[in-house]
C-alpha cells in the first residue's frame, strides 16, 4: 500500500548514498535568469556540461519588463542590473546549448505557466526548478519541487537531486463551493487552517470530490501555493481531466501518448495507503478569502473582522501587532474599510486564461474606482496573452481602465519596474504578502482574480452581486 508520492519516489530512485540520502533522477529541469547564473558558473568551473541537455528548458521571467511590446530584445532592458541577468541567461543557454524561450519568443512567460502549456510537463515526471513555486507542476501528477542554486548546479551536472524522503500528508477537499469561490480561496483557506509551517517536511497530496471537479489550471493554483503551507511538494493524481489537458498541449505523437496514458492513469495512491497526516475540508462552507497581514496564513473571510491582539495568545499577539502595523491597519475593523491603491492580476498562481476570464467577467462594462491609481493585468505567457486577445479580454480590461501588459512575474515580486510605492495598498492575485514583497513598504492583500477584479471596480474588497 503506497501513496502516489511513495510511488513516484521509488520510480525515480537511482541509489542510496552512504550519507543515507538518495539520488533521485530528474526528468525535467526548468531554469530562469535569477537562480541559474551561479549554477552555470559552478558547472563551468568544474569543466562539466549539462548531463542531459533535453531535460532543461529555460525562459526569462522575473526581471523582464512588461511594457516591452514587440521586437524587444534583452539588451533593451533599461535597468542595467536586470539586463545583465537576462543577457547572462541568453549567454549561458547559448554556451551550453539549452533550449530557451527567450525574451523575443512568442512563447516566453512565467516558467511555471509555460512548462505545462507547451507540453514539457507530463504526469509522473520529477520536475525541479530554482524557484519555490515549482510545486505548481504537481497539479499534473508530477513530483515537483523548488530547489536552491547549489541544487540547480547539481541537477545540471548529474541529472539527479540528492534528497531525503518527505512525509506524506493527504488533504481532501470535499463538496462544491458557493458562487464567487475559486481554487485560490480554497488554498488560502487551507493555509490559514494549517499555517505556513503546517506542511513543513511533507509532500501534500490534494484529493477529494472538489479536486476531481476542477480544471487542471485551478489545480495548479492549489499546488502552486502548497509551498505557502510549508510543503515543497503538492501533488494531484492524474485523471481524465489531466489526460485531456496533456493531450491538448502535447507535441507527442498519438501512439506515444496512448502508451503513456495507460501508465499515467495508474499513477495514484493505493486504497488503504497510510498517510502521516490527514486533513478533510468541506469546501461548501468556504467564503472568498483575503489576507490581511504579512504572511499567507493571516487570512480571513473577506467580510470578517480583522484579527486584533484582544484575546490572542502571546505568540499570536506579537505576530498580529507587527503585521497590523506594517499593513497600516489602525481602527479599521474589516478589510472593506481599507482603501486600495493598486490592483495586480497575474503571477504563477493566477495568470492563466481561466483566471483572466474570471476577472474579465467581473469588470466587463464597468470602470475602475477613482481611488485605484493603477490596475494591471499581466498574462502568464505569450500564449495566454494571445488567447486572451483572441477572446477580446484585453479590450474588456482596457475599457474598464486596466493596463494590459506583456508576460512575466511582474508585481508578484517587483524585480522589474512593476512595484508598489511605500504604503500603497494592493489587491493582488499573487502568492506572498510578505513585507516589501511587491515593493519597499508596499502592502499586499492576496485574493482570487475575481476578488481582485471586483476590488478594482469597487475600490475595496467585496462580492459581486
Amino acid at each position: 500500500m503506497k501513496t502516489l508520492y511513495d510511488k513516484l519516489w521509488e520510480e525515480h530512485h537511482v541509489t542510496q548514498l552512504d550519507s543515507g540520502e538518495s539520488l533521485l533522477y530528474i526528468d525535467r529541469h526548468y531554469l530562469h535568469e535569477v537562480t541559474s547564473p551561479q549554477a552555470f558558473e559552478g558547472l563551468a568551473k568544474k569543466n562539466l556540461k549539462p548531463w542531459r541537455l533535453g531535460a532543461n528548458i529555460a525562459t526569462p521571467d522575473h526581471n523582464v519588463p512588461t511594457t516591452r511590446g514587440n521586437d524587444f530584445n534583452s539588451n533593451q532592458i533599461k535597468d542595467e542590473i536586470s539586463k545583465i541577468q537576462v543577457v547572462e541567461l541568453d549567454k549561458n543557454c547559448n554556451t551550453f546549448g539549452i533550449k530557451q524561450f527567450d525574451i523575443k519568443s512568442s512563447k516566453q512567460g512565467i516558467v511555471h505557466v509555460i512548462g505545462p502549456e507547451l507540453g514539457y510537463t507530463l504526469p509522473g515526471m520529477t520536475i525541479v526548478c530554482g524557484d519555490s513555486h515549482t510545486s505548481t507542476h504537481g497539479a499534473l501528477g508530477c513530483l515537483a519541487m523548488g530547489i536552491g542554486t547549489s541544487e540547480v548546479e547539481h541537477v545540471l551536472a548529474t541529472q539527479c537531486l540528492k534528497v531525503s524522503k518527505l512525509k506524506n500528508m493527504l488533504v481532501r477537499f470535499e463538496g462544491t463551493p458557493v458562487e464567487n469561490v475559486s481554487s485560490k480561496d480554497i488554498v488560502l483557506y487551507f493555509i490559514g487552517l494549517i499555517g505556513t509551517a503546517g506542511g513543513t517536511g511533507y509532500a501534500i497530496e490534494f484529493s477529494g470530490s472538489y479536486i476531481k471537479d476542477i480544471s487542471v489550471e485551478s489545480r495548479m493554483t492549489i499546488c502552486n501555493m502548497a509551498i505557502e503551507a510549508g510543503a515543497k511538494v503538492g501533488i494531484i493524481a492524474p485523471d481524465k481531466t489531466t489526460i485531456n489537458y496533456v493531450k491538448e498541449k502535447s507535441f507527442l505523437d498519438k501512439k506515444t501518448l496512448e502508451n503513456a496514458e495507460k501508465y499515467w492513469l495508474n499513477l495514484k495512491t493505493d486504497d488503504g495507503a497510510k498517510f502521516d497526516n490527514e486533513v478533510v475540508i468541506d469546501v461548501s462552507k468556504i467564503k472568498p478569502q483575503v489576507t490581511w497581514g504579512t504572511s499567507p496564513e493571516m487570512v480571513v473571510n473577506y467580510d470578517d473582522e480583522i484579527p486584533t491582539v484582544l484575546g490572542a495568545n502571546d505568540d499570536n499577539k506579537r505576530n498580529i501587532e507587527l503585521a497590523r502595523n506594517y499593513m497600516g491597519i489602525q481602527n479599521e475593523s474589516k478589510l472593506s474599510d481599507l482603501t486600495f491603491d493598486k490592483v495586480f492580476i497575474g503571477s504563477c498562481t493566477n495568470s492563466r486564461i481561466e483566471d483572466l476570464r474570471q476577472a474579465a467577467k467581473v469588470v466587463k462594462g464597468k470602470t475602475i474606482a477613482d481611488n485605484i491609481i493603477e490596475a494591471i493585468v499581466v498574462p502568464g505567457s505569450g500564449m495566454v496573452k494571445e488567447q486572451a486577445e483572441m477572446e477580446g479580454l484585453d479590450e474588456v480590461f482596457k475599457e474598464a481602465g486596466f493596463v494590459w501588459r506583456d508576460p512575466g512575474c511582474s508585481m508578484c515580486l517587483g524585480m522589474n519596474p512593476d512595484q508598489l510605492k511605500p504604503y500603497e495598498r494592493c489587491a493582488s492575485t499573487s502568492n506572498r504578502n510578505f513585507e516589501g514583497r511587491q515593493g519597499y513598504l508596499g502592502r499586499t492583500h492576496l485574493m482570487s482574480p475575481l476578488m481582485a477584479a471586483y476590488t478594482a471596480i469597487n475600490g475595496t474588497v467585496g462580492e459581486p452581486s
Partner: protein
C-alpha cells in the same frame, strides 16, 4: 578530505530577532537577487529592517540610512556568529541568496523552532548550521538574551549548545549534514561517483518511458 577544525565549535554573542515566519524575502529582498555572483551579500542581510531607506544592488552601506534600533547594527551584535529566531525561519522563496547573505555577514548558526524546508537544505551547502530546538528552549533562550548579552558555544560534533557551566542544550542534526559543514564536501563530486548507476538508470528509463525524452 580535510577537517576544518574551526568548524567544530561556533561561539560568541547571540543576536536575536523576536519574530515567527521570517521569510527569505526579509532575509534578503528581491532587489539583490539581480546579482549574478555567489558572494558579496553581507550588506543586504535583513535589508528592510536594517535600513530606513530602499536599497539598490551596489549601493554601499555607508550611503544608506541605517536603522540604529535594529540589533545587527549595534555592537557586539554586529559581529555575531549566532542568530536566535522563533518559528518557521526561512520560509517562502527558494533563493539561496538568503543563506549567502547570512554567511557573508558572518552568521554560522541559526537557532529556531522550525525552518522552511528549502532554506534548511540550502544552509548545509554553504556551511551555515540551522539548529532546531524545542519551543520552550527557544523561549528560554529569548528570556536570557533579552536580559543581557549572551555568549554561547555550539559544539557541532557533540551536538550541544553550552550556555554556561550549568546549562546546556542538546540538538539533533543528521551526521551527513554535520559532515558537510565540517568537511565542506561538494555534492556534485560525491554524486558523480555514482555516474554508472545514473547512466544505467537513465538507459532503462529511456526505453520504458520514451515520452520523457521525446523532445530530444
Amino acid at each position: 578530505m580535510t577537517s576544518n577544525s574551526e568548524g567544530l565549535i561556533i561561539d560568541g554573542v547571540v543576536s536575536y530577532i523576536d519574530r515567527d515566519n521570517i521569510d527569505t524575502d526579509q532575509i534578503i529582498p528581491t532587489e539583490y537577487l539581480k546579482s549574478i555572483k555567489k558572494f558579496g551579500y553581507e550588506d543586504y542581510l535583513f535589508d528592510g529592517w536594517r535600513y530606513k531607506d530602499d536599497g539598490k544592488l551596489g549601493v554601499k552601506k555607508e550611503d544608506r540610512h541605517i536603522n540604529q534600533d535594529f540589533i545587527l547594527n549595534n555592537k557586539p551584535y554586529s559581529e555575531s556568529k549566532i542568530l536566535l529566531v522563533r518559528d518557521n525561519f526561512g520560509c517562502g522563496s527558494s533563493r539561496e541568496h538568503a543563506v549567502w547573505a547570512l554567511r557573508d555577514f558572518g552568521i554560522k548558526a541559526v537557532m529556531a523552532s522550525s525552518f522552511g524546508d528549502i532554506f534548511y537544505n540550502n544552509c548545509f551547502k554553504n556551511s551555515v548550521l540551522p539548529i532546531k530546538l524545542r519551543k520552550n528552549e527557544i523561549e528560554e533562550l529569548f528570556g536570557l538574551v533579552k536580559k543581557d548579552i549572551v555568549e554561547l558555544s555550539i559544539d557541532l560534533q557533540q551536538r550541544k549548545i553550552y550556555i554556561d557551566d550549568k546549562h546546556k542544550l542538546n540538538f539533533k542534526v543528521d551526521d551527513h549534514l554535520i559532515d558537510r559543514i565540517i568537511y565542506g564536501l561538494d555534492d556534485v563530486d560525491v554524486s558523480l561517483k555514482e555516474k554508472e548507476k545514473i547512466l544505467n538508470f537513465e538507459k532503462k528509463r529511456m526505453s520504458s518511458k520514451p515520452w520523457i525524452y521525446a523532445n530530444e
